[in-house]
């Protein structure tokens, strides 16, 4: 037997020449008069018969729009009753009915049924639902935009009034500086003398010591935090079967110190230790002296204290010790009802200037002239700085409101500045305060971790692009032990609520939050909504 004589020609795949051709290119797939057809990139001429003959001839793959013969080309399915779609050639005739090709044209006839009617219906249903959300969301969004506009007006007004106030205050500062300079030049020598007072120099060294202590304190706080993280890892990762008493001691010691339940202890036992935990801080509190600063005082008050202008204080002190005990006319204020104070203040100033003029009050003034003048100048300058800063902040805020890199071109995100969204995942509650910070808060005791501060919108997309606002990056959070600084990518899409829906730690200490916000719901395009099939 000579087998190849029995060979039957393979049934050629009955494929239309235009199968898989997108509408825009249809005109190029018509039988050429010459009988020879040019590849779309112009690189080669082939017989018209070679088009869609299930063997690749053109380098650009354009001769096989309807088969899978050429890699890296695309196949267009018409999907009558639905929307046409293109799929990669790698999916043509692979035995799977592509969902994108509901007409089943991506496979040989008979393999896939035409499901475009149902698919189209489902698609429209889904799209309508999405549109509904988008419509509702876009209303909320427009309220955000009008908020931004109001905010803009408010800020502009603020800038305006601040500007006027600055002019007034600048004049005042200039005047007071003049007075202070003049009085000081008179009393510079006296000041130098006063500064030699033991009290003053002690104060300065206390201040220096306090500053050093504060610095060390901060350093230790950082260290404690890091040690805490290390010990937490040890606590969760150590092997209780190792019988290593040193490790066990360290873990138990840390648990006691940090008020954590013993790891591995079952739930009921945990409740007990939770109670124990609560009693610990109370006991500590009792020990604290009433006059002593609380931790919060330390955090907030210390900087303020250290910023004291000691020269002014010296003057004030000098003034104080030379002031007669309460009862004098100058301290009459304390006897007056609150309602009368403003009038009194006005009167007092006049009175004093009179007294000064007539030399009656001179004995006080002589000693503290320069300090008073300096104090007045300092106060005025501080007030000026404050107003300037207010103005600057307002101006910056104004810049951000309609900035594509800030709150969006339409200011739609301004409303959400500082809005905090939370998701409880059981073990932790994740929180992101928009444009501020993201946090991981344990639900059963332990340390809250800073997951990062707002850094930018989607960095891999051009600013202002619609995908730009679908991602926020929060970075430079607390560093992971043996890992990177914690960070969060917040992925958002249009929704009627501001919410986080999922949290995933895709890589160690790098989190992905997904959520929704109406700020992403663009108003429905008139054209879009009319485009029905």
């Amino acid at each position: 037997m000579i087998p190849w004589l029995l060979l039957l020609p393979l049934p050629a795949l009955a494929v239309e020449k235009t199968l898989g051709v997108p509408p825009a290119l249809l005109s190029q797939y018509s039988p050429p008069k010459s009988g020879s057809w040019k590849c779309l990139d112009g690189s080669k001429e082939i017989p018209w018969d070679f088009v869609n003959d299930d063997a690749c001839d053109c380098p650009d793959g354009s001769d096989e729009p309807g088969t899978g013969a050429c890699p890296n080309s695309t196949f267009y399915c018409q999907n009558v009753g639905h929307i046409g779609a293109s799929i990669p050639s790698s999916r043509v005739n692979d035995g799977l009915c592509e969902p994108q090709c509901c007409d089943g044209s991506d496979e040989r006839p008979g393999v896939c049924k035409n499901a475009c009617k149902e698919v189209g219906e489902a698609y429209r249903k889904k799209r309508d639902a999405e549109r509904k959300i988008q419509k509702t969301g876009s209303k909320i969004r427009s309220s955000y935009i009008s908020f931004a506009h109001k905010e803009k007006k408010r800020l502009e007004a603020l800038v305006e009034t601040s500007a006027q106030e600055i002019i007034v205050r600048e004049k005042e500062v200039a005047r007071l500086r003049d007075i202070a300079d003049r009085t000081e030049s008179l009393s510079a020598a006296a000041l130098e003398h006063k500064q030699q007072s033991p009290l003053y120099s002690a104060l300065l060294s206390h201040s220096a010591a306090l500053k050093a202590l504060q610095r060390e304190h901060k350093k230790h706080l950082e260290r404690e935090k890091e040690l805490g993280a290390i010990l937490d890892t040890l606590r969760k990762g150590y092997n209780p079967n190792y019988q290593d008493m040193a490790v066990l001691e360290a873990v138990r010691g840390w648990e006691f110190l940090a008020g954590l339940p013993h790891i591995g202890v079952e739930e009921d036992a945990q409740a007990v230790s939770d109670e124990e935990v609560k009693t610990v801080p109370e006991a500590k509190k009792e020990e604290e002296d009433e006059d002593e600063w609380t931790t919060e005082d330390l955090e907030t008050g210390l900087d303020e204290l250290l910023n004291t202008d000691y020269v002014s204080l010296l003057m004030a002190h000098d003034e104080h010790v030379s002031t007669p005990p309460p009862g004098s006319l100058l301290n009459i204020r304390s006897y007056l009802p609150d309602t009368l104070i403003p009038q009194y203040e006005g009167m007092r100033e006049t009175m004093i200037s009179w007294l000064e003029v007539f030399g009656i009050s001179a004995s006080d003034a002589e000693k503290s002239d320069s300090s008073k003048a300096r104090q007045a100048f300092n106060d005025a300058e501080a007030a000026l700085t404050r107003v300037k800063k207010d103005k600057q902040t307002a101006e910056e805020d104004l810049d951000e409101i309609f900035n594509v890199n800030g709150f969006g071109a339409e200011g739609e995100w301004k409303k959400l500045d500082g809005t905090c969204l939370e998701l409880n995942t059981g073990e932790y509650t994740y929180e992101v305060c928009m444009f501020d910070k993201a946090r991981q808060k344990p639900n059963h005791g332990g340390q809250t971790f800073d997951l990062g501060s707002f850094s930018s919108w989607n960095p891999s997309v051009e600013a202002g692009d619609s995908a730009f606002y679908e991602k926020q990056v929060y970075n430079k959070g607390t560093r992971c032990w043996n890992g990177p600084e914690r960070s969060v990518v917040l992925v958002l899409k249009c929704g009627t609520e501001n919410a986080i829906h999922t949290v995933a730690e895709l890589e160690k200490c790098e989190y992905q939050f997904t959520g929704t916000s109406p700020a992403l719901c663009l108003p429905l395009d008139e054209k879009d909504s009319r485009e029905e099939l």
């Binding site: 190849w4 004589l5 060979l7 299930d54 890699p71 890296n72 079967n241």
Partner: protein
């Protein structure tokens, strides 16, 4: 460079290995293992005594019993040191000429472990009935063919000769020593309670000798003067109680005519094993075989790793021989080359009998056949498992898995399998999904399977000790868990799951029970994994076993297994049993059974029957990338062809260049998986920037085009045992220049030669061509010419290029249509690359079957040969039916009597055709190209270098468009020049 710069560089070099180094103190050196120390001291004493050294072991000629009609004899062996102790020796010659040498202590105080072979061998080998033993005065011999086995009586020495030349010699150096069981000296045994007393006075006499004249120990010349770690052994914080006392086995195995040896995986080292003994050895410690979970292992070391296969090839230009030692206990092997042309090895095992197989070769292919006859050939894997495997510790949720799949599809990158590491499970209770992150495991798997893909999910052997975990509770109820040294209760150790126990797979009661756990349907009795589907296959990790709080991160050696054997006796076999049973379990989920895929980290001789292995937790360094190739080659030598190293390295964040080069290594590994540690950045190929992303996409697609080559190579190895990856000495056994080559290799018998680039910033390399033949660049058809003496050619491979050649004389079948997964390619047409040899001929093979079932065992497959021949002015390329020509040789283990070309599978691909044929090296433009008996075909010719010419450069290439010939049918294409 100023000197301080050099200093800086040096100090950097010193610092780096420290930062990324193995915790050496966790693992023993030879000097920290009592029996290895004793064994090495023995060889040191022998070396010092030189010619005065004589083995105390001798065979008693009077005791020889030769079996009638079978090539077996037994005889008694005595040691002059302990004349009262009896040893028995047995030699068998198998049908295929393999000699099995067994020696055991007879009627000793206890029994040595003698079951290692029963786990490693596929069946009891057939003993020759033609060969006969002849006893003489000094020796007993058996002669067959060109081979002869000679057993000399005094001292005992066993030699395998070929053509009168010694090939393998046992105890030629007098290092044979089987430490017999003895009783602990009286003072020390007081605390012992149930120490069995010796029955006869002989043992007492021996003790008395020691006690009477302790200062003159007559055995010290051989055994040393101290009871070095005989009865108890400490390592770090662990104490090994060693209730059986010393029982080690030392044997020297010499290869007087062979200067190169290969094998004894798994070690991170060169394929041709560097020395550990003799003059200035490369390594100072012997090669160690003791399955261990070595954290951040070194890229060059004789330290033991996850698996052990005690097989060696000894090779020379004249012949290849092999030895296989069926021993399951810890074994150390010293290697030395007394001369360039000879090798000595010294094997020191902690326990067990001597059970050595001498494989006479004389070619590498013969040794592969002889070893396969003993332990089996690699299993024909499911076709999809040759695709790309995407793994990470860990894909964290079912949505994560879906997203990764979506990203692959968006980039149109092929992938077949998504993997889940340990974090899928609730508290590391394997099988039990973490329902918060994987609320819908079946739906998730179905979403993956809907695109023709599979999932692999990890199931480790440590079972969390909690009553709410059915796998543990049922194992505990059935009392099939490994026992502590007391032999009572359950051994408790620490692993990922915290406090855990381990199933004792040596206990047959565990087998059916374990297999039932993988059923996807509910059982009448007991738990089964109903929240899984048959599209889930299994990854067995940590099966050395890894025990975090055990000695050397493993199980205490005095733990007790089924039959009362200690863990030390079976340690190296333990991991294989786990993957063996798991693979049976996965196979039996369906009726009829389907081919399982089980990846194992630990392995032993015979593991090739159960699935794939990988080289464990490698580091993302160039050194590890390079040694990965050598390790995979070594595994192939030892039978385990289905192997790979993790692409990208498990630890670390590879830079894009390294990752691209690693994919180039990976796509030419039999097992192709990318994996990453939990602390690393994600590095799935779709995350790369361009141009790297495009390069890797093309590499993955290249792998997929070559799946027909890989599958055909796997069929061959499943029948012959010749490895899928073939180093030079296997291809060209007579070319000494290639003996040390382990960075370039051939794929099956396809003629494809690959040499991946494994150094940073490198584009230039040299490729060794061992023969006077033309080799074509796979991509450019550039013709290079080797010479009969061997020749190195220079080659430049930019980052997107990999040095890949087709040996002249090969026909390579590929499928060039990119698909998302391999299962979607089964109806795609083929491309044939005909690479003409100098003489104008070429040959290739193609094997196809359904890739998942066992229907091929019933003849449902297609096995074709393609042959090109040049006669006068005609080149004829023909396809013939190998299945019909050699039905008996088609399928592993099944000698089919006939082949039906119209079988169901062949019918299912009846219309699959050849869509393109490329003839490379054609001398000139053809006058006509036709299918024999058909019309002129459409073709193009690019002139160039002819195969038979002398020039180098781009070859003449004929491209035939769609000859429309069917792959299942005979045909011929006639090229008239």
């Amino acid at each position: 460079m100023p000197p301080w710069t050099l200093l800086g560089v040096l100090s950097l070099l010193l610092v780096v290995p420290d930062a990324l180094a193995v915790k050496s103190h966790d693992f023993k050196t030879c000097s920290q293992a009592g029996f290895c120390r004793r064994g090495r001291a023995l060889s040191a004493r022998a070396a010092e005594a030189k010619s005065a050294w004589n083995s105390p072991y001798s065979l008693d000629p009077a005791s020889i019993i030769i079996a009638s009609n079978k090539a077996v004899f037994t005889a008694g062996v005595k040691s002059a040191l302990y004349p009262e102790i009896n040893f028995g020796l047995e030699l068998r010659v198998h049908d295929d000429g393999v000699v099995r040498v067994r020696m055991d202590e007879i009627n000793g105080l206890r029994k040595r472990y003698d079951e290692a072979a029963s786990w490693a061998l596929i069946s009891e080998p057939q003993i020759s009935e033609d060969i006969t033993w002849t006893a003489g005065k000094k020796d007993i011999k058996a002669k067959y063919g060109n081979n002869e086995v000679v057993v000399a009586f005094e001292p005992l020495k066993i030699s395998l000769l070929r053509g009168g030349k010694e090939q393998v010699v046992l105890n030629g150096q007098g290092l044979l020593h089987m430490e017999h069981f003895r009783t602990k000296a009286v003072e020390e045994t007081k605390t012992e309670e149930a120490e069995p007393k010796p029955e006869e006075g002989a043992e007492d006499a021996a003790e008395q000798v020691v006690m009477k004249v302790p200062e003159v120990n007559p055995r010290a010349w051989f055994e040393g003067d101290t009871e070095d770690d005989w009865w108890e052994e400490r390592f770090s914080t662990w104490t090994d109680s060693k209730p059986k006392g010393p029982e080690s086995l030392s044997i020297d195995i010499s290869f007087p005519s062979h200067g190169t040896i290969y094998g004894i995986p798994q070690h991170a080292t060169r394929l041709a094993l560097p020395t550990t003994a003799g003059d200035s050895p490369t390594f100072t410690d012997p090669y160690r075989l003791y399955n261990t979970d070595v954290f951040e292992y070194l890229a060059s070391s004789p330290m033991s790793l996850y698996g052990s296969i005690p097989i060696l090839h000894a090779h020379s230009a004249d012949s290849t021989v092999g030895i296989f030692h069926a021993v399951g206990s810890e074994t150390w092997i010293d290697v030395a080359h007394p001369t360039d042309k000879s090798t000595t090895t010294h094997w020191i095992s902690e326990s067990g009998i001597l059970d050595l197989f001498l494989m006479p070769g004389p070619t590498p292919a013969d040794v592969f056949a002889q070893y396969s006859a003993l332990t089996g050939t690699p299993v024909l894997p499911p076709h999809w498992s040759l695709g790309y495997h995407q793994c990470r510790w860990n894909y964290i949720s079912s949505d994560d898995v879906r997203t990764v799949q979506k990203r692959f599809d968006e980039e149109d990158m092929p992938v077949d399998v998504f993997w889940l590491d340990i974090e899928y499970s609730e508290d590391h209770k394997y099988f039990m999904w973490n329902e918060k992150n994987f609320p819908d495991p079946v739906d998730m798997t179905n979403d993956v399977a809907a695109l023709g893909r599979k999932m692999v999910v990890i199931v480790d052997p440590h079972l969390k000790r909690t009553s709410t975990y059915p796998a543990f509770q049922e194992a505990s109820d059935r009392q099939v868990l490994v026992k502590p040294p007391s032999g009572e209760g359950e051994y408790e150790g620490w692993c990922w799951s915290g406090s855990s126990s381990w199933i004792d797979f040596f206990n047959p009661n565990s087998w059916d029970w374990w297999k039932a756990k993988f059923k996807t349907t509910a059982l009448k009795e007991g738990w089964s994994w109903t929240s899984s589907t048959t599209d889930i296959h299994i990854w067995n990790d940590m099966n050395e076993p890894s025990v975090f709080n055990g000695p050397e991160i493993s199980m205490p050696r005095d733990n007790i297994h089924h039959g009362g054997w200690e863990h030390r006796d079976i340690h190296n076999i333990n991991g294989m049993l786990f993957s063996n049973l798991t693979s049976q379990a996965v196979q039996e989920r369906t009726d009829p059974p389907t081919r399982p895929f089980v990846l194992t980290r630990s392995f032993f001789a015979g593991s090739q029957r159960f699935g794939a292995m990988w080289t464990g937790d490698n580091l993302g360094t160039w050194e590890h990338m390079a040694v990965g190739i050598q390790m995979v080659l070594a595994n192939g030598i030892a039978g385990l062809s289905f192997a790979g190293s993790d692409v990208g390295g498990f630890f670390g964040n590879p830079e894009p260049e390294m990752l691209v080069r690693w994919y180039q290594v990976g796509i030419f590994n039999p097992f192709l998986r990318a994996h990453a540690h939990i602390d690393t950045k994600r590095r799935e190929p779709f995350l790369l920037e361009q141009p790297y992303k495009g390069i890797v996409k093309d590499l993955l697609r290249l792998r997929y085009t070559m799946l027909p080559v890989w599958y055909t190579a796997f069929r061959e190895t499943s029948v012959t045992g010749v490895p899928v990856l073939r180093p030079h000495y296997v291809m060209f056994p007579k070319d000494p220049k290639g003996f040390d080559l382990d960075d370039q290799y051939f794929i099956g018998n396809s003629g494809l030669l690959v040499k991946p680039i494994t150094t940073k910033g490198t584009t230039k390399t040299t490729v060794y061509l061992a023969e006077d033949e033309v080799y074509y660049d796979y991509f450019t058809h550039h013709a290079y010419r080797g010479t009969a003496k061997g020749k190195e050619i220079d080659y430049t491979a930019e980052l997107h290029q990999v040095p890949l050649f087709v040996r002249g004389g090969s026909i390579v079948p590929t499928r060039e249509r990119p698909r998302r997964a391999s299962s979607l390619m089964h109806r795609d047409p083929f491309t044939l690359r005909v690479a003409l040899a100098k003489a104008g001929a070429a040959r290739g093979e193609l094997y196809l079957d359904d890739g998942v079932s066992y229907a091929h065992e019933k003849g449902q497959f297609v096995w074709r040969a393609f042959e090109a021949a040049t006669a006068k002015k005609t080149v004829r390329v023909a396809s013939t039916d190998l299945g019909a020509a050699r039905p008996g040789a088609a399928v592993d283990g099944i000698a089919l009597a006939s082949y039906d070309a119209g079988n169901k599978f062949a019918e299912s691909i009846a219309d699959v055709r050849v869509e393109k044929m490329v003839v490379v090296g054609l001398s000139g433009k053809p006058a006509s190209v036709k299918v024999d008996g058909g019309a002129e075909l459409v073709w193009e010719f690019t002139p160039g270098v002819a195969a038979g010419g002398k020039g180098e450069g781009v070859a003449g290439v004929l491209t035939i468009k769609d000859p429309k010939v069917r792959i299942v049918e005979d045909w011929a294409i006639i090229i008239q020049l």
